[in-house]
Symmetry: C3
């Protein structure tokens, strides 16, 4: 099916050209967090360390005081994502609603997704200063989206 | 007021038939997190355990090193929600913008809300393997929304 | 450029009058969380306490068991924001999509932003009962947005 057919189905696609780029970015980021969850569960099973009592009982282990180191690392990746992804989601939705072009959205959303994949990888591997640089780059992309949204909304003069 | 009158007020309702289902789901999930906060505050007051110094001073208690067990359980529910709800919100908004039907949205959003209410309940009660199964079911619903959004956006051929 | 010119560029601005207010609120909240991150990094460098091993190595310090007190305070502000901002974002986007008026959105979004800035400030300063009162006021604004969205969606009779 080509895009011209689709716009006849969905009025939003006709007026919001950046919507497909947002869908692709969201699904890619959802795949990343799903993968983090899978890694965390596997790491917890492998270490055999369960701080939640019913988890320990289910796997017939003693309840632990704290998570194993790699499980904590996955939790840090998750925490960093919960601090950053919702702001990206909100800014990206608004940017799309303001009529952003498909090209600009593909470039900005694509950069953000790649930077966050790389950030998670180096966080899991424990590589500095790469983690800090990738974090700041992701933030910079969000600030570009914020800036362009302010312009599109007519809020910057 | 019937829906036909409303669409004359809001142009979005005419072109985005799944929007009311999203509003209902959001409000239901907001009610759930509000309830978690209330439970957490009540549990903290009842245990009399306050790790933040100004909270301990306000209630004339000694500052504690860690939260009471049930307060930690509420914090786990919150953490799990902060990891999962924002992705659902973003996927659901995009799905609605792509012109999802009211029926499909009611079914998917309704299932997700029920699964997350059940997940929070069994997490608070400490029931496994139910917590894991409900978590995975909620993720599965989100993946269905992601898949349908990719199709509606014309990104899957 | 005046708003009338802009609506000819973006079809959303013509039908979604509250969209500029949402952009302004999002950018203000993004500035707040960016500031929290900067404060947290500065506090961690100043205390010289690094619980993540590669951070300790990078700065040639011994790995610590826990964060310094003010870094923990910043983490608490972040955690509180991750619990509250995504729900505001989702409710606000839906409220805008339902055709909320620019005036109502400016008042509600503006109040929420001010209350969350004040909440972060008193949390960092350790002032109770102000933190609790500002938290509850922010929640109340979200409930007003939720209620108005239910009305606009025709879900409350």
């Amino acid at each position: 099916m080509n895009p011209t057919d689709l716009t006849s189905l969905s009025p939003s696609l006709a007026t919001l050209p950046a919507l497909p780029a947002l869908v692709a970015a969201l699904v890619a980021l959802f795949a990343k967090t799903t993968l983090t969850s899978v890694l965390q569960v596997l790491a917890r099973l492998r270490a055999g360390v369960f701080p939640i009592p019913e988890d320990a009982r289910l796997l017939r282990k003693k309840q632990a005081d704290a998570e194993a180191p790699f499980v904590r690392r996955c939790a840090n990746v998750w925490r960093n994502d919960t601090e950053n992804l919702p702001l990206f989601f909100a800014l990206a939705v608004v940017y799309v609603l303001l009529g952003a072009s498909a090209e600009a959205a593909r470039l900005l959303f694509g950069s953000y997704v790649l930077l966050r994949y790389a950030h998670s990888a180096v966080f899991l591997l424990g590589l500095q200063p790469w983690r800090a640089l990738l974090y700041l780059s992701g933030m910079a992309v969000c600030w570009v989206i914020a800036w362009k949204s302010l312009l599109l909304a007519g809020l910057m003069g």
